[in-house]
């Protein structure tokens, strides 16, 4: 095993780039992720998120820049790095002819681990009851949970999760989100790639907006929303002619409080809500396009 820094960042990315033929997929991006931090890479399809993760996990070699994982250089110490990371792919790349237990035991053997108790790991993803069923008979959500269990086999120091809850049922999505929080609490750094702004908002300590291969902004979700979003109060009330009217009062204005008081006193209120900007709003402000574009 190579030398591992115990005090530095879990992941340090410095000006990495990658091109597919003539197309620049990732353009000189840099960021760091601390141990225990959940870092979200947020961007629309084709923004460069998956290419970035491929470089971070050793599937692609950056054409420029450097990557240090747990203090080790990704070019010269890739095998040592890969022994200490867990990867959950967007594709459900499991051996469907094998059972969940067989899948886990096989991948454990690649790490040189004798997996005596696959069931307890499967229990963490609510699959213990189906441990001996072939993966071909699993639903999409079950396969995704098994992929998550596979990513945890070697008790990784960094988890790379590519769209881990994309298209999943709420129960499976909650199970995976719970595991991400548990792993973060254990001290593992988590790099989460998603185009789901709500997931990024609820899970990530920091997010980076990535579009056309470049990082547009990077900060805690709350900070981004405060910096670039607009808070407001949305009021629905019944008018004099009986029609429902909707009024939005921005909270940034000097007389915002007066406007709200007046509305409450004078209107026949139906509902009143405070509103804040979403990460999607912030992304649109930066990129000029939505996350689903």
């Amino acid at each position: 095993m190579g030398q591992v820094s115990s005090t530095g960042p879990a992941l340090a990315v410095d000006s990495i780039s990658y091109s597919y033929s003539d197309t620049l997929a990732v353009d000189s991006i840099s960021f760091e992720v601390a141990p225990g931090e959940i870092f979200g890479l947020l961007g629309p399809n084709g923004a460069g998120k998956s290419t970035t993760v491929k470089m971070l996990t050793g599937q692609l070699s950056p054409s420029a820049g450097s990557i240090h994982v747990l203090g080790m250089d990704a070019r010269s110490q890739l095998a040592d790095i890969q022994a200490r990371i867990g990867v959950c792919f967007e594709e459900k790349n499991l051996y469907t002819a094998m059972t969940a237990t067989e899948n886990l035991k096989f991948f454990a053997s690649l790490f040189g681990i004798k997996l005596h108790d696959a069931r307890s790991l499967l229990d963490r993803v609510d699959l213990a009851a189906r441990a001996d069923d072939r993966v071909a008979d699993y639903s999409k959500g079950m396969r995704q949970r098994l992929m998550m269990a596979r990513a945890l086999l070697n008790t990784p120091d960094i988890l790379f999760l590519d769209e881990p809850t994309d298209g999943l049922d709420p129960v499976s999505a909650r199970t995976i989100q719970g595991l991400i929080k548990e792993e973060s609490a254990r001290g593992a750094a988590v790099v989460l790639t998603t185009h789901d702004m709500y997931e990024a908002d609820s899970l990530a300590d920091r997010v980076a907006f990535i579009n056309q291969g470049s990082i547009l902004a990077m900060d805690a979700p709350e900070a981004l929303k405060l910096q670039h979003g607009q808070r407001s109060v949305r009021i629905r009330a019944r008018g004099k002619d009986g029609d429902v009217e909707e009024i939005v009062i921005p909270l940034e204005g000097e007389d915002a409080a007066d406007q709200v008081q007046r509305a409450v006193a004078e209107l026949d209120l139906l509902t009143i809500h405070t509103e804040e900007a979403t990460l999607e709003d912030v992304f649109v402000a930066y990129a000029g396009r939505g996350l689903d574009a």
Binding site: T57, G58, Q59, A79, Q82, A83, I85, V87, F89, E91, N93, L94, Y95, T96, A97, M98, E102, F106, F107, S109, L110, F111, G112, R150
Partner: protein, 356 residues
């Protein structure tokens, strides 16, 4: 190389292969069918020529011919129509018939002997029959032919008279090749599935390296192909003669088709594509095995095909008692082709994995 990783991937592939109903089915059915085909083929060659004859007054002469000439059996018929019918139907293995006219023995006449042959009879048989009729004419008339030649036959190589290579023996290389081809397709499909489902990506973000993955696949393909061809050769009585040389040829053959499997598996984009690619490569490679069915017909260019050495080794050891010294050139060529195909398959698979 990480042998623990190679062993893990190999064991996983065995599980996946054993659960693929299609490949288990074609492997078992193929083996059973090829063995059955072998045993249904004739295991000996009938060297006797069965000749039908209609003749009058030459009983003594023909009795002498039938008894004295090894390899010639005379069957007599009463009428020309009976003779024609027997030749047409191939009754009692009769391949030709001669009808001698009643005036054949009359001095001073120029009799015409009718010769009946089937359309399938080779032209040289027809000429031989004509020669036999002339010889009989000289014998009956008591005169000598214009030139009385004495011939001395020298058989070069093994004299096969009474011990011809049977169709069973001729089929051995082709059957062995069919089995190897089935396993080539199985390996190609295993690789292609890994690439298409991206399971190879999941393997390669662990401490497993691409070289470990390829080594495991090559090991799997070679052991599968070798195991099956060894079972086949055992069941079709293939282990005769110089067995170590034969085993070496089969190991090289298994390695060679593994190279083809790596190549086809990493080139095809889906199941059909993989099958077509494997067939496109394997069909030309089958030509030497087909050539073994028709000795003497193979063109010179066939000798440069990768499987020529394999076929020569199987045919040579099992039918000509060939040894290492007879086959070293063919085996060297086979080994060289193994290296080329395995190298090519490895390079293509490595490139395919790198571009996922």
């Amino acid at each position: 190389m990480n042998f623990g990783v190679i062993s893990a991937i190999f064991r996983k592939d065995l599980i996946v292969f054993s659960r693929d109903r299609f490949y288990v089915f074609i492997t078992i059915i193929g083996l059973v069918a090829f063995v059955a085909m072998y045993w249904l083929l004739p295991d000996s060659v009938d060297e006797t020529i069965h000749l039908g004859v209609v003749q009058t007054g030459m009983d003594t002469l023909f009795d002498g011919l039938g008894a004295g000439d090894q390899g010639l059996e005379i069957v007599e018929f009463d009428t020309v129509d009976q003779l024609r019918g027997a030749v047409e139907d191939g009754t009692d293995g009769i391949v030709a018939g001669m009808a001698f006219p009643e005036d054949f023995l009359d001095p001073g006449t120029k009799p015409t002997v009718d010769l009946f042959v089937t359309a399938a009879l080779p032209a040289e048989y027809e000429k031989a029959m004509e020669g036999l009729a002339s010889q009989l004419g000289f014998l009956v008339s008591g005169t000598e032919p214009p030139i009385d030649l004495a011939t001395h036959t020298v058989v070069l190589g093994i004299d096969r008279v009474g011990n011809q290579v049977s169709l069973q023996e001729q089929m051995r290389p082709l059957l062995a090749f069919f089995v190897l081809m089935v396993e080539t397709m199985a390996l190609a499909s295993l690789i292609s599935t890994e690439v298409q489902l991206r399971t190879v990506t999941a393997v390669l973000v662990t401490p497993a390296r691409t070289r470990d993955f390829i080594a495991a696949k090559a090991l799997m393909g070679t052991i599968l192909a070798l195991t099956e061809v060894l079972i086949l050769m055992t069941l079709i009585r293939g282990f005769v003669g110089d067995v170590p040389v034969l085993l070496l040829a089969l190991v090289l053959g298994a390695l060679m088709v593994t190279g083809v499997g790596l190549l086809a598996g990493s080139s095809g984009r889906d199941f059909i594509g993989v099958m077509l690619m494997a067939l496109a490569i394997m069909i030309p490679l089958m030509i030497p095995a087909f050539g073994a069915l028709f000795p003497g017909t193979a063109a010179t260019w066939i000798k440069v095909l990768p499987t020529y050495g394999l076929v020569q080794a199987i045919v040579g050891v099992t039918t000509r008692a060939a040894s290492w010294s007879d086959l070293s050139g063919d085996l060297a060529m086979l080994a060289a082709w193994c290296l080329v195909l395995l190298g090519l398959g490895t390079v293509v698979l490595r490139r395919r994995v790198a571009t996922l």
